[in-house]
């Protein structure tokens, strides 16, 4: 055990994509090093492998699991997570937190496309929990989000929150093109540059009281660098997607 956590350290830089959606992420906190090392993954072009082939595992069962290394090529980290804390000490690949139901994933670097998003053909993305990305997120972060919160401390790619059903995405950098298209409900909150998508309509400028509660929580629980100006600030509210239910919103902070 290393400070109450289990640590998985990448043995060598990856050269092929690795699909980790088959790992029982929700069960990892209860497993010992051998149990974690025997979890199956899929290596592109090579086939079946186990986590122990790719990572050195240190520690005993602990509520917090930390992955160390450049995991840009590892897809599906935290898939199906339902509790506990999962930390990625580096970058993460595609489909971070796919089908996540609870718990917290913290990525200390960047995340590739589809963080918290629905897998292809699925009706919904993550249904609970929180994802905090300290860097930037790729396209379609939170696409199909059903419930839960995604925080991106820097920028997001195109189609942020595409087809959201509910939940909240907060972006502290710039938001890529076409945010919130086809969303039914849910909130995209932007602290950097943002161009609202065409089927969104301006409603008003106000101070949403729930954002103050949300930001206070994020600052205390996840050490998100929220400023007093953001806490007390005014936001432009856009309602949409008006081609869908129209109960979604984009909130753009006015610096």
């Amino acid at each position: 055990m290393t400070g109450g956590e289990t640590v998985l350290t990448l043995r060598a830089p990856l050269r092929r994509r690795l699909d980790a959606t088959g790992v029982a992420w929700a069960a990892l906190p209860g497993l010992d090093a051998e149990g974690i090392g025997s979890q199956e993954v899929w290596v592109e072009g090579e086939g079946r492998a186990v986590l122990g082939d790719v990572f050195e595992v240190h520690g005993a069962p602990a509520p917090r699991v930390r992955l160390v290394g450049d995991l840009t090529l590892v897809d599906g980290i935290g898939a199906g997570l339902s509790g506990g804390d999962l930390v990625v000490d580096g970058d993460a690949g595609r489909y971070l937190g796919r089908d996540m139901r609870g718990g917290v994933i913290e990525v200390r670097g960047n995340a590739d496309s589809h963080a918290g998003a629905a897998q292809p053909g699925a009706k919904r993305g993550m249904t609970g929990g929180e994802i905090v990305i300290r860097g930037s997120a790729g396209p379609q972060v939170g696409a199909g989000l059903r419930r839960g919160m995604i925080v991106v401390e820097r920028d997001t790619g195109e189609a942020t929150g595409r087809g959201m059903l509910a939940g909240t995405i907060l972006v502290f950098g710039s938001v890529g093109p076409d945010p919130g298209l086809w969303s039914k409900r849910g909130s995209i909150v932007a602290y950097g540059s943002l161009t609202p998508s065409a089927p969104y309509r301006y409603a008003c400028t106000y101070r949403p009281p729930y954002l103050r509660v949300t930001l206070t929580y994020l600052k205390a629980r996840h050490r998100v660098p929220v400023t007093p100006e953001q806490l007390a600030g005014h936001y432009r509210r856009y309602s949409g997607d008006l081609a869908e239910l129209g109960a979604g919103e984009i909130l753009a902070w006015i610096p």
């Binding site: 609970g128 419930r147 839960g148 919160m149 909240t168 409900r185 909130s187 008003c204 106000y206 101070r207 949403p208 009281p209 729930y210 509660v213 949300t214 929580y217 629980r221 109960a247």
Partner: protein, 186 residues
Amino acid sequence: MGSALRLFGDGFQGSKVIGGKRFWRIPVMEGEFLVEEKFGLQKGIGGGNFLILATSPDAALAAAEAGVEAIAPLQGVILPFPGGVVRSGSKVGSRRTKGMVASTNDAFCPTLRAVTTTALPETVNSVLEIVVDGLDARVVAQALRAGIDAACRDGIVGITAGNYGGKLGPHHFHLRQIMSPDGRAW
């Protein structure tokens, strides 16, 4: 509570889960009302108050705002009126309309000085009230003391309180006692 109040939103309400707690967002004319879906209840004390007697409406408002600012950070109390300030203080019952629970506090209305039994000194031209609700008598008294201290400024002729003939409940906050040196013992 929140799960019942949300229905006021008439289908326009929405919810958010923050830190494991569900909140309801209800659109209202002022902007948005936020309420937790579930929260605990306990008996408290409502209606602690003081009246600010001022030479002008501007002086009354400035004093009231100073009082609100002093009370707002205190724990265990709320100011139930918008902005914490009451412009239309009331008396219990009515002189004319049977069954009416409350009506204008004519004794403290400057415009009625000549036609009713007034409680206002000659130089008073505007009165505002601050109402304090709290978890117990001690925190309400402390809030009244802090608010009165802050409200005593230029243009204020006097501070008093609505006693309502002692009919408004078992708790009585005597301002002379609260503001005395021993008042800190509350």
